[in-house]
């Protein structure tokens, strides 16, 4: 079988970071150089770049990047947490920004962010969980709002938020697990909805959800590993959505993260709920020093 071309993928990502507007590297540079975070807004939230309005998406990214580098203490944690908590609506849902777009993605982002900052106490967790459960469908999956079609990406968000808040007992894991394992197609890859094409990114969304509900052994893991490895560009590095397509940083990340969840040798373990390395999560959530 083809092996993981780890060195090539590292080179691929480094080359991408040089040629593109890499948000993370810009952010990190500002932290190192100025000791403050240039993208942080007065409200406590983060924008996608200097001068951009704050959004919960970029706020979680900022917290995750800082968590990776053990630099969360450069933040005014209280202020960031207040910004995120302020986006919770009366029904328990979360908006992405002051303009009010609601989506279960934002529920996950808020809960993940606040857990990393040790400030889940700032929101009404019970209402947040109830809202997520109101987006559960008869097939066991979750959509973006109540009645929205089940989609593996939304399922990751909902299951992740339920896992972080200790609420997984409130879902039918067997029903959801069957829906998730039906996402594996003959090639071994996973799709995100019935009759859609397989895509490496679902190695993350589907697998992480299956792991969180203890049902990952229901799929054929070997075939999935092979599918991911077949999506590599062995010569130039990088991983694509499907074999022989063009590679990008997004699918390279999800391919490697998927292999990590599949315990591929040599890849560091990743936490399925926080999408951060297990040692980082242990340090932050459990206070275990590496």
């Amino acid at each position: 079988m083809v092996e993981l071309a780890a060195r090539k993928h590292v080179q691929f990502i480094l080359s991408k970071a040089k040629e593109k507007n890499s948000y993370e590297s810009v952010l990190m540079e500002h932290i190192r150089m100025n000791g403050h975070t240039g993208c942080q807004h007065d409200s406590g939230g983060f924008g996608g770049n200097i001068g951009h309005d704050p959004h919960i998406l970029y706020t979680l990214s900022a917290v995750q990047v800082l968590a990776l580098f053990n630099k969360v203490d450069v933040l005014d944690v209280e202020k960031v947490a207040n910004y995120v908590a302020g986006l919770q609506n009366e029904d328990g849902s979360f908006s992405g920004d002051m303009w009010g777009e609601v989506d279960t993605r934002f529920s996950y982002i808020a809960i993940c962010c606040l857990a990393l900052l040790h400030h889940l106490d700032k929101i009404n967790v019970e209402k947040a969980v109830d809202y997520i459960l109101s987006c559960k469908n008869h097939d066991g999956g979750f959509g973006c709002t109540p009645g929205g079609e089940s989609h593996a990406g939304q399922i990751f968000c909902c299951v992740g938020a339920l896992a972080i808040t200790g609420s997984l007992h409130r879902i039918d894991k067997d029903l959801l697990g069957w829906w998730l394992c039906e996402r594996q197609v003959k090639s071994g890859g996973l799709n995100g909805r019935p009759e859609k094409l397989p895509d490496v990114c679902y190695s993350w969304w589907v697998l992480s959800s299956l792991i969180m509900i203890d049902r990952v052994h229901w799929i054929d893991k070997e075939k999935l590993v092979k599918f991911i490895l077949d999506c590599q560009d062995i010569e130039n590095g990088g991983i694509s959505d499907r074999p022989d397509d063009a590679c990008d940083a997004y699918h390279t990340y999800f391919g490697v993260a998927g292999l990590s969840l599949l315990e591929y040798p040599g890849v560091k373990p990743i936490d399925p709920a926080y999408a951060l390395p297990v040692d980082v999560v242990n340090r932050i959530i459990l206070g275990i020093k590496a």
């Binding site: 970071a17 040089k18 040629e19 593109k20 507007n21 890499s22 590297s25 810009v26 540079e29 500002h30 150089m33 100025n34 240039g38 924008g47 996608g48 200097i50 001068g51 951009h52 309005d53 959004h55 920004d97 303009w99 777009e101 469908n137 008869h138 097939d139 959509g143 973006c144 709002t145 009645g147 929205g148 079609e149 089940s150 989609h151 067997d174 697990g177 069957w178 829906w179 394992c181 039906e182 594996q184 003959k186 071994g188 909805r193 019935p194 009759e195 859609k196 052994h217 229901w218 799929i219 054929d220 075939k223």
Partner: protein
């Protein structure tokens, strides 16, 4: 708006209406790690945008500038935000916004900002926007019938503004085009459970079972139609088990001996909820055994699990688990 986009682009510094504006350049920090190579047109537009945004100038010229900035980069949500602030201040005709978002959708209909903007506009326009929003989403769905943003927007329109009357027909039309379209099945479920005109799940169940029966017979390998059928009995296992239409549908598919995964799993589901299979079911399931399935078991459920393990090998562990959980409680 939009009509002048085909005219030749005039650099902003040469436009009389902007002569008093001092452009503000992007601050990438003293030593940008990754200097971004912007196109001149984009750079200049954003420099002028930044100037007006910083001055919080909510004027017609600022509104025009946001259109240009959005067309150059529809992903910049700050520009969209500012546009809404200007629209509110000027009390401008919101019909223009529908044209703008439709233009953007032609380039990339999966842009989150355009849908969010569209909803903001429709919310302000109220029920007068209903038919236009249903038409717009229909147009997007005619290109990609599983477009998640379009479905999400359409569900919001129905709930916030109405327009339910023809939605079930629309679902039917889409399922005629592609019976495997899970989004259309989901919308159908959304309509029968939430439409104020249909009386809810229980009232719709009988006719929906017939509809789904036909869909399943036509394509028994369709995961979506089987799940829809099960969904019709959400929280009502007793009716699920006791409706002979369900078990006879399973038997019909099993007897045809092709694409039996969902028929077998539905039979197992029925049995696990108390259904007592007759000899006909035993015969049909036994007839499905292949040379590599385990030997015939007197228990039809266990035999069904063995058949599934061999015809659905990707999920063999699931079917093994299913057998041990439901049928090996000795």
């Amino acid at each position: 708006m939009g009509s002048d986009e085909e005219e030749q682009w005039v650099p902003l510094r040469n436009r009389p209406e902007l002569s008093d504006v001092i452009p503000v350049q992007q601050n990438d920090g003293p030593n940008p790690v990754v200097p971004i190579a912007y196109k001149e047109e984009f750079r200049e537009t954003m420099d002028y945008f930044r100037a007006l945004y910083k001055a919080d100038e909510r004027s017609p010229r600022a509104l025009r500038l946001t259109s240009e900035a959005i067309e150059l980069n529809p992903g910049n949500y700050t520009v969209w935000h500012f546009r809404r602030l200007i629209l509110e201040a000027l009390n401008d005709d919101l019909q223009n916004e529908l044209g703008l978002t439709e233009n953007i959708a032609q380039g990339n209909s999966k842009n989150y900002q355009l849908w969010h903007h569209r909803r903001w506009v429709a919310e302000k326009l109220g029920t007068s926007a209903t038919s236009e929003e249903l038409r717009f989403t229909k147009k997007i769905l005619s290109i990609d019938a599983k477009h998640y943003h379009a479905w999400s927007h359409r569900q919001w329109v129905l709930q916030a503004l109405g327009g339910w009357e023809e939605e079930l027909d629309y679902c039917h039309q889409l399922l005629e085009e592609d019976i495997f379209n899970n989004s259309a099945w989901n919308q159908r479920y959304f309509v029968i459970t939430r439409s104020p005109f249909l009386g809810g799940l229980k009232d719709m169940r009988e006719s929906e079972v017939c509809y789904t029966h036909n869909a399943i017979v036509a394509r028994p390998e369709n995961e979506s139609s089987w799940r829809y059928l099960r969904g019709l009995y959400k929280d009502d296992n007793l009716s699920w088990v006791n409706n002979p239409q369900i078990s006879s549908l399973c038997l019909e598919i099993l007897t045809a001996k092709a694409n039996c995964v969902f028929a077998l799993s539905t039979l197992l589901d029925l049995i696990s909820h108390g259904f007592q299979p007759s000899q006909e079911f035993r015969d049909a399931v036994n007839a499905l055994q292949t040379s590599d399935s385990e030997q015939t078991d007197s228990d039809v459920a266990k035999t069904a699990c063995s058949v599934l393990e061999s015809i659905d090998p990707l999920r063999a562990n699931y079917w093994k688990w299913y057998r041990s959980k439901h049928f090996e409680n000795a």
